[in-house]
C-alpha cells in the first residue's frame, strides 16, 4: 500500500492514528519491561529463550538480552509494526520470509566478512531468500526436516522410507499431522511427485486430495507441543511433518523415537537471524549474531531446551552423543534428498491456507 493511497482514504488514516495510539499506549504500559538503551532486544522463537544459550553471551558482554517470543512471521512482523523504530535489535525469522522483512524496510544488511558463512552447510545458506538485491539480510542459524517422525518400536521402520505408508490402512488412526500448512503441503507435494519449489495454483486440487487422504488416516492435527506429546505418550505412532526437532530432544527419555528421510525426500526448514535497520545497538546486535553463529553458540542453540535442530555451522561444538542424536554425519545425504520449504507468493499462500482449512474441516 502506498503512502499516497493511505493518505487519501479517511478510513485508513483513522485506522493508522488508532494503531499509533494503541501502540503508544502499549509502549507506555510496557515501559517498565522495555529494555534500556544498553540492552539487546530480540524477537525470538522459543529455542532462543534458553538461559543456557543466552547467559554466556550476557556474561561475556555485560549486557542483558530482553527476549520476546512469537510464533509465525505474521505475528512477529505485527509486533514490530506496533513498536517504535529502534525498539528491537535482532529477529529470528523463517529463512523464506527474510524478503518480507526486507520489503517492509525493516532489516539492515549484514557484513558477510564478519560472519562464518564459509563454515555453513552450503545447502542451508538459502541465498535465494537471505540475500536480496545483492545484500545479505539474514543468516541461517538452524535447520532440520519436516519429514516422518515415528516410534520405531510401534511401526516398521522400513515402511517409514516411503510417504505412501502415511496414507495406507496399516497405520490408520496411528498418525498425527503437524499443524502447519506449508511443510505438510510440501510433504503432500513430494508424495505426488511434485517439486516443492515448483508448486502453482494448478497443483492445489491434487495436493488437497493427498492431504485429505492423510487426514483420513490421522487421529489429530496438532501444533508443536500437542503433536510432540501425542508421539511421546503413544497416542500416535507417526507424526507427519515431524523430524529431529521432535525426536532429538526426547531421545534420552524416549530412545524409541526416530525420524526418516523417505525415498521421496523431505522438506528442509531453516530459521535465520536478521538485524533491524533502526536498531540503536547495532554493534551489540552483530556481536549477538556472531555469538549464535559461533561453534559454541551453535551447539547451545542446536540443543536448546525448547527444541533441538541441526546447527547450520558445520563446526558446531556438539558432543559425539549430541551429533549421534541429530544424525550429524548423515546430513550430506539428507540434504541431497531434501527439497526447499514451499515459498508461495501472497496469493498462493492464501489459497494454500484456505485449502488447509478445508482439510481440517473435512470429516
Amino acid at each position: 500500500m502506498s503512502v499516497k493511497s493511505a493518505s487519501r482514504n479517511p478510513l485508513l488514516v483513522l485506522k493508522h492514528h488508532l494503531h499509533a495510539a494503541c501502540a503508544a499506549t502499549a509502549l507506555l504500559l510496557g515501559a517498565g519491561s522495555l529494555a534500556e538503551a544498553a540492552d539487546l532486544n530480540a524477537l525470538i522463537w522459543c529455542d532462543h529463550s534458553d538461559p543456557a544459550l543466552l547467559q554466556p553471551f550476557e556474561d561475556a558482554n555485560n549486557v542483558k538480552v530482553n527476549v520476546k517470543e512469537f510464533e509465525g512471521t505474521g505475528a512477529g512482523l505485527a509486533i514490530v509494526e506496533q513498536s517504535q523504530p529502534g525498539d528491537w535489535d535482532v529477529m529470528v525469522i523463517d529463512s523464506i520470509d527474510v524478503p518480507r522483512g526486507v520489503e517492509k524496510g525493516l532489516f539492515e544488511p549484514l557484513p558477510e566478512d564478519k560472519l562464518p558463512l564459509a563454515d555453513l552447510f552450503p545447502q542451508v545458506k538459502m541465498d535465494g531468500s537471505t540475500v536480496v538485491g545483492g545484500k545479505r539480510y539474514g543468516i541461517t542459524e538452524k535447520f532440520g526436516y519436516n519429514t516422518i517422525g515415528f516410534n520405531k518400536t510401534k511401526v516398521d521402520p522400513a515402511d517409514m522410507q516411503s510417504l505412501a505408508s502415511l496414507t495406507s490402512d496399516k497405520y490408520k488412526g496411528k498418525v498425527a499431522l503437524y499443524d502447519y500448512y506449508l511443510p505438510v503441503i510440501g510433504m503432500a507435494a513430494l508424495a505426488i511427485g511434485k517439486k516443492t519449489a515448483d508448486l502453482t495454483e494448478a497443483d492445489l486440487p491434487a495436493l488437497k486430495e493427498e492431504l485429505l487422504k492423510m487426514k483420513a488416516n490421522a487421529k489429530l492435527v496438532g501444533e508443536v507441543t500437542a503433536s510432540q506429546t501425542a508421539l511421546a505418550t503413544g497416542e500416535v505412532d507417526i507424526l507427519v511433518g515431524g523430524g529431529e526437532w521432535v525426536t532429538a530432544g526426547l531421545a534420552k527419555e524416549n530412545p524409541a523415537l526416530d525420524f526418516s528421510i523417505p525415498k521421496e525426500g523431505a522438506v528442509l526448514w531453516s530459521q535465520s537471524l536478521a538485524m533491524f535497520k533502526d536498531s540503536k545497538n547495532k554493534d551489540m546486535a552483530l556481536k549477538f549474531i556472531q555469538y549464535i553463529m559461533s561453534p559454541e553458540g551453535q551447539a547451545r542453540l542446536a540443543t536448546s531446551s525448547c527444541y533441538w535442530g541441526m546447527p547450520s555451522n558445520t563446526k558446531a561444538a556438539l558432543s559425539d552423543d549430541q551429533k549421534k542424536v541429530l544424525r550429524f554425519d548423515e546430513q550430506p545425504g539428507f540434504l541431497a534428498r531434501a527439497q526447499s520449504y514451499p515459498a508461495p507468493n501472497a496469493d498462493l499462500d492464501k489459497k494454500m491456507q484456505d485449502m488447509w482449512t478445508e482439510m481440517l474441516q473435512a470429516k
Partner: protein, 289 residues
C-alpha cells in the same frame, strides 16, 4: 440568598452533581481505552484488505463465501450450545443440593471444594484432561483393564473431549450463579405453594424454577460468551479435527499476519454474542413483567 447563577438564569453545577461523574470517570476511561478504542481499531481494520488499498467488504464476503469458514461458526455454535445445556443440567441439581440439602455450616466448605478447579491454570487443566482421555489414559486403562472393552476408545482429540473440558469448567461457574439465586429465595414461597396444595414437583416447576431462571440465564449467557470465544480448550483437547471460530481467527494471524480478515471474523463472532445477549435480555425482561 441568591446566587450569580440564579440571577443570570443559569444553574451552576454543584459539587454533588460532579461527584458521580468523578467517580465513574476511571471506569469510563478504562472502558474507552481498553474496549472502545481497540474495538474501533478492529472494526476499521476489518474493512481494509491485507495487501492494503481502499476500504473493502472482502473480508466479510470471504466468510460468507467459504463453506470451511462457515463450518467453523456452525461448529462453534453447536459446541457452545451443547456445553451450555449440559452445564446447566448438571449445575442446577448440584446448586440445589448445596443450597437445600447441605447443612448451612458445611456450605462454605462445599462451595470452596466446588470452585477448586478454578485454582489451577486453565492450560494445565486442559492438558490434564488430555492425559485422562488419552489412549493410554485413566479412562481407557480402567475400561480395558476391567475387560469392558478390548480396544481403547478414541476419547481425546474429539469434540467429546472439547465438550468435557468446557463442561468441567462451566459447571462450577453456573453452580455459583444458581446457588446465589437459590439462597436469595425466601422459604415462604414454598410454604405458600404448599398451603395452596402444590406438591414438591409442582412447586419446583411453577415457583422455584421460574424464580431462579434469571440466575440460570445469567450463568448460561456467561457460559455461552466464554465458551464461544475460547481458543485453548478446543486447540488442546479437540485435536484440530474440526475448527472452531477462535481457531480460525488465530490461523489468519500466525504466518500471514492477516489482521483485517482476523478482525472481520472477530466482529462476526462478536455479532453472534450480541444476538445471544439480546435474546437473553429480551427473555429475562419478559420474566420480570
Amino acid at each position: 440568598m441568591s446566587t450569580a447563577g440564579n440571577r443570570t438564569g443559569r444553574a451552576l453545577p454543584r459539587a454533588s452533581d460532579a461527584l458521580p461523574w468523578a467517580l465513574v470517570t476511571p471506569a469510563l476511561g478504562w472502558t474507552l481505552l481498553f474496549f472502545v478504542l481497540p474495538f474501533v481499531a478492529m472494526g476499521l481494520s476489518s474493512f481494509t484488505a491485507h495487501e492494503g488499498g481502499a476500504a473493502t467488504w472482502s473480508n466479510y464476503s470471504q466468510f460468507f463465501a467459504n463453506p470451511a469458514y462457515w463450518q467453523a461458526m456452525v461448529n462453534s455454535l453447536q459446541v457452545t450450545a451443547i456445553v451450555t445445556v449440559v452445564s446447566v443440567l448438571l449445575a442446577y441439581p448440584f446448586a440445589w443440593i448445596l443450597a437445600e440439602q447441605v447443612p448451612e455450616r458445611w456450605q462454605r466448605l462445599a462451595l470452596m471444594l466446588a470452585v477448586l478447579p478454578f485454582w489451577t491454570s486453565y492450560v494445565v487443566r486442559s492438558y490434564s484432561w488430555l492425559l485422562v482421555l488419552a489412549q493410554n489414559g485413566v479412562i481407557n486403562r480402567a475400561l480395558t483393564g476391567s475387560g469392558l472393552i478390548s480396544e481403547p476408545l478414541q476419547l481425546a482429540n474429539t469434540r467429546l473431549a472439547t465438550v468435557t473440558g468446557f463442561v468441567h469448567f462451566f459447571v462450577m461457574l453456573l453452580t455459583l450463579t444458581i446457588f446465589a439465586n437459590l439462597k436469595q429465595l425466601s422459604p415462604s414461597y414454598r410454604k405458600a405453594a404448599a398451603d395452596l396444595g402444590a406438591g414438591p414437583v409442582r412447586t419446583f416447576l411453577h415457583v422455584i424454577l421460574p424464580l431462579t431462571l434469571p440466575g440460570i440465564m445469567v450463568g448460561a449467557f456467561l457460559t455461552f460468551v466464554l465458551c464461544i470465544g475460547d481458543y485453548i480448550t478446543p486447540q488442546i483437547l479437540g485435536g484440530n479435527n474440526e475448527l472452531l471460530m477462535p481457531q480460525l481467527v488465530m490461523m489468519q494471524i500466525g504466518r500471514r499476519g492477516d489482521f483485517p480478515l482476523a478482525s472481520a471474523l472477530s466482529i462476526i463472532l462478536m455479532a453472534v454474542v450480541t444476538v445471544a445477549y439480546l435474546a437473553c435480555a429480551r427473555w429475562l425482561k419478559i420474566e420480570r413483567t
